[in-house]
Symmetry: C3
Subunit: 109 residues, 3 copies
């Protein structure tokens, strides 16, 4: 039995929750704030059999892996709107920091 703690971006949190349910993993979500990753984060606590850890890690990777995304920048306030041609910029989003811990004992009441 292992305990996995995974810190992921809020924007990937709902998608990861659904993917965990589909793959029959039981998770608890804790609200957390920045540090490991740039924007608001969610920390997942997941208990699983040793032999399913690799499957769990691939579910997290598939749904949260760091990737580049094109976003439309905000127009500058009070600028000359006629002269301003906005073009999308590439930003890195997503990413997961994952700790796998051994459990001495696991109980459900």
């Amino acid at each position: 039995m292992k305990l996995i703690m995974a810190v992921v971006q809020d924007k990937d949190s709902n998608r990861l929750s659904s993917a965990l349910v589909e793959s029959n993993f039981k998770a608890t979500k804790l609200a957390s704030t920045g540090g490991f990753l740039k924007s608001g984060n969610t920390t997942f606590i997941i208990g699983t059999d040793d032999h399913r850890v690799n499957k769990l890690l691939s579910v997290i990777r598939e749904n949260c892996e760091s990737r580049d995304q094109m976003i439309a920048p905000i127009s500058p306030m009070g600028g000359n709107a006629d002269a301003y041609v906005p073009h999308p910029v590439e930003v890195e989003v997503g990413g997961a920091t994952v700790f796998v811990l051994s459990i001495d004992q696991f109980e459900q009441f």
Copy 2:
């Protein structure tokens, strides 16, 4: 020294807090959301001597164990109120998911 993480239903959270204080356990509560259990959850982090782990597990079990409860269902909206005879239904409430972890080092500053 062990670290115990216990995910319990919000409805059992205050009762468990009081019982932990009475039994001289020190706990921190983290707000969490569903997954292991059906409704809103609270995650407790508790540090304790190895020889008190069994006592701690029985305090959690006594206060959070899954049990059936009769609840009055909501009347159906727009139904024929005269013909509707509500009767209580049995639902499962409570429950705890508990991880016991070994600690390498414990410090208090």
Copy 3:
């Protein structure tokens, strides 16, 4: 690789965050509530190399160690204001409860 969980008082939380960044530690903050310490708490989750654990513990100690502080008491309501001479009282603030855990596996996606 170690996982450190540190429960500190909210009032020390921002200062500790800054000190961790300065010393190149990556942390996630979880909102938590009382138990180990008297007022509102924050739980930090920090992953680090084994050989930096002592440095991390000293950063936590320097920023969160329990200390006495003089505070001005609130004037009693409805008392005789002329006769009341407020004098500061000494209270204990700060403090940290720290768990160091071994990690089986650490991944970043």
